[in-house]
Point group: D3
Chain length 238, copies 6
């Protein structure tokens, strides 16, 4: 039934490749099927102005898409002179999601910026970004730990994300682009490795959805994020 031939609860093939950017303190090339995102984590010693002198750190994210990540060329935001509302919405989501699993006080007064640049877009770029950025973040914090820059165990949990949606009447996990454009309802879930919710964003693209439908999507998400957590651990060797 699904264009890819997947079962409703099948995720696409996921890979998490570490140390792909020589100069970053942490990096991960994440693939959810054909969607590929290069995530880098940069440790900087200056924090945003409003945090200065408070002895705590910050984790933030920026999101971008190469112009030809998409089927037809998308205009470069640097040329347009500003980031679109969509881009800002996504990078705010990534930042919030990662901050949810970091103890900013134990991080010390540094800022870690996660750059998520989409090399190829086939649906689910924001959920792949969160999932891969977590891996890059862990490596950056390990890099800091080795240099005694943190004040303790700054990571409180792991975090991953997946999309679900109602496609032709059936709840399905991990929408690809073909499903995404057609889905009646589209929801993104961000959860911790310990199974709690960090963020839920559900949108009725076509028809409003019922509480029962939302429950089905939540169940799929819990399963998918469980699988992603296992893959993150494997990739990180923990």
């Amino acid at each position: 039934m699904r264009p890819s031939g997947r079962q409703p609860s099948d995720m696409r093939a996921v890979t998490l490749e570490r140390n792909v950017a020589m100069k970053a303190e942490g990096s991960c090339l994440v693939a959810f099927g054909n969607t590929r995102v290069l995530c880098t984590a940069s440790v900087e010693t200056s924090v945003p102005g409003w945090l200065r002198g408070k002895g705590q750190g910050w984790v933030t994210a920026e999101y971008g898409m190469l112009p030809r990540a998409t089927g037809s060329r998308t205009r470069r935001e640097a040329t347009a002179g500003k980031q679109s509302g969509r881009t800002q919405e996504i990078q705010r989501l990534i930042g919030r999601s990662l901050r949810a699993v970091v103890d900013l006080e134990l991080l010390g007064e540094v800022q870690i910026t996660l750059d998520c640049d989409v090399l190829e877009a086939d649906g689910g770029t924001r959920t792949a970004s969160i999932t891969g950025a977590y891996v890059a973040l862990v490596d950056a914090i390990r890099w800091m730990d080795e240099r005694k820059l943190t004040k303790g165990q700054a990571l409180k949990d792991s975090v991953a994300a997946v999309s679900c949606g109602i496609y032709r009447g059936t709840p399905v996990l991990d929408l690809d682009y073909l499903e995404d454009v057609e889905a009646e309802t589209d929801a993104n879930f961000v959860m911790t490795g310990s199974g709690k919710f960090v963020e839920i964003q559900g949108t009725a693209e076509g028809a409003p959805f019922s509480r029962d439908e939302l429950q089905s999507l939540m169940a799929l998400a819990e399963q998918g994020i469980g699988e992603l957590s296992v893959m993150q651990k494997a990739a990180l060797g923990v």
Copy 2:
């Protein structure tokens, strides 16, 4: 327990005042307690470029905040030279929410813009905006109906929104500013008058939340939006 003395399931006093902007085709001054938003609906005969010639209409929204709607003066976005990510996120949400209850084909080739300008901000400006903008939208569509500009009954349902959150461990309905800054979890719900979900946005501000906590918030939201729908009907005389 709540700073305002409200019970967990108490909404603030809500008022919906119609016809407050002489020149707009529809308008509503909505108050959720001290939060006050002026919503106007403007009918324009030109649609966005990508819709031209398709015989269907569009509903969009813009959101703004007067500089002194807030406790300390906020910089005017027109001076800053751009809308913040938060503003864009909110206006995209308002637009999506209203489009969910409009049949864009029956609307005919017009664009209705909902401007939601916050005169006073005390938490819940986006949910008040959606609730009030719906009332302004109805008046604008009635204005069109009277002039035979629509092609049929363009409104499919009503829509309203409310926030819920976990405040000091307890799920509460309709957060005000004092609660909002302190809440561990903050969720916005947009639902139709017929009780279906249009949008859910839940965010763990402090600690990740469980599925049970989310269920409690959903139950509060369903109750609150039920009350708002009744008030919308009363205001609109239906």
Copy 3:
């Protein structure tokens, strides 16, 4: 002869409602007929860079218009990415007009920003803004006086403004929108309560005007501003 049926020397109904914005140190909702402007005064402890350390304050203004204050929707300046030349011209005028009646040294090293946001536009928005902003400013300075933040009596005089014009050959006071678009000459006068000029801006929209015509406009302005000063005093209870 006038579209509104007014006599040439009749002003529109003027109201000045104080304390309309809960969070501002001073506020006034001013109406000149159907033109309504919400004026707020914000006291901030930081002054512009070039004044820092000079022991004196500053008074400035910003002007905005809600998109649907006008007959057809006006594009939001925050979306356009900049303030129009007209907006900047008006806010510079409001700022200069108010500074003319304030002793900046006695104000102490604070900045007071007057935000004038037009809720409904029917001609004369800049003159209504000045007239209302003065009332908001007085309340803000009183607020400072109560907290012993000023160094003495910072207000030197009152200030108000009105437009005049030559409409169908006749000099008339306080142009509304219908008169404004048709007037041959349009002039804005800003005067103190003691009857001196702060600013005169006269423009030949249609045909150049003679010295005699200017004298007639000046006489009308003196009368109108006299009336406005009385209303300002009444509103302020002095």
Copy 4:
């Protein structure tokens, strides 16, 4: 008494040099003392969108200042990314002033842009700009007349401008920079060759001014503009 040793009613040495820009349809290098402005008139066959197809033309102006026209270097507006409020105010004034003496219908469907670029600034740049731009405009219209591009005598009158002010208690004509920064009142007058007013802008920089003071400034302006009109005629050979 005046820093330059001039009498109160003395203008500075004024020169109007035509044909200084080889490529423009009209041009004039105007000097008011040390203030020097290069004015060019460009005839373009496209009019602003809102005028298209109406069979009438448009006259507009842009104003700029070379970075080192001033005592200390001023930031280039192209680098700053926008024109300041002051620049926009001035160029709007120049445009309005010139349109006052042009019959836009007889001009035909063309746009004439007057660029006024200040090479050296010593007070009165906007009045020098208007005075010089008029000369450039006449040459551009003559250029059009020679090519039978106008539909008749498009020039209705001449126009010139001068500043006056109250300097150390005395009304003086044509303020230079040293006087300008110190003047209590500063007024710019734009008048036609036939002695009527096109624009008056009077501002109390220090203390509000009386009606009598304004009358004195007006008398000085009438005299000064009379002299400028004679010089314009001489320069244009009429």
Copy 5:
């Protein structure tokens, strides 16, 4: 003598990997040592306005750098709101270089955009971009040829680029980052496969250079570009 241990006339290891972007009509991941650039070619049926209806095509380029391509994180240009002067200079160079080997008339009325996004920067990003973009361009033109979209053999020659410089007194080929920051003279050469020059840019970073020094650099460039041309042919299977 060179930090990398290379001989003066040694290039770094160069690889050219085709078909790395699924959705682009042509793509090439080029590496010059640690410098890696992802080049995509996008065929679009709309040409710039000034070319419309002339029956000829256009080739243009855009250049970007991922924030963490560099040793310390570089600010994203989309966030800064504009492309830097350096970026614009580079993308103009890439565009000119590729247009030099394309017959724009035979291309037909299409635009090919070469996006060169630097994944890792270690000196020579602009020369690697040109070399890789050529390969992507060839694939895009082949894609067009297969669909009979071109009007003939649009490629006139091949093109590649390399940098040379005087490093510690010795002319060397293909500078890496460590050499680049220290070089007295830095020159970029763009040449065709047939051995002619398309572009030369030589800059004295430290000390001005003599004609003899320039000759040595030219000789190195000719050798290096000869090698690159062979590699391009091999990669393209011609």
Copy 6:
């Protein structure tokens, strides 16, 4: 053969007029035939942030063009809201060229900004700018020397620039606009008075060029810059 009737190795008439801007520390109006550029040098006591406290100075340049310097009016960059890529490329070139002959340490911690504003453009504006800006720079450094602001002889050499090109198959010196638009190859050379190269930029506009052609252009450039150096010395009285 040349449109101007010049021999291939003839430069246009060059003039260098000093002290044309009263307020600048150095200034020069340079003409290369009909191309005229006003160059001013401004000494400022603040250096860019990254140089602060390093005890050395900086020399930078900005380039602009009056709207009607060109045959048809060019849009003002201040109105467009940004400098074009071409403008930035040129001003970066001017800055680099002048820094090549200045000892920044002996300059002391000041910044000298060279503003090059094109009054009339007829080809070669960047080479005229460099040649004239050098003269303005010398005067600014002399001004500093007189005030004992430099730490020694900050000027190491003189610098000038000229363009050459292949026009209808013949290498020619100092292209004017008519030649520039038609030239197959266009090259700009910047050289010191002592005959060394500071910058070479050669571009194949039409057809790629051979090494021999480049040699001919270089020979012409050496001759032309030799002549310009003599004129610079004469203008500066050295």
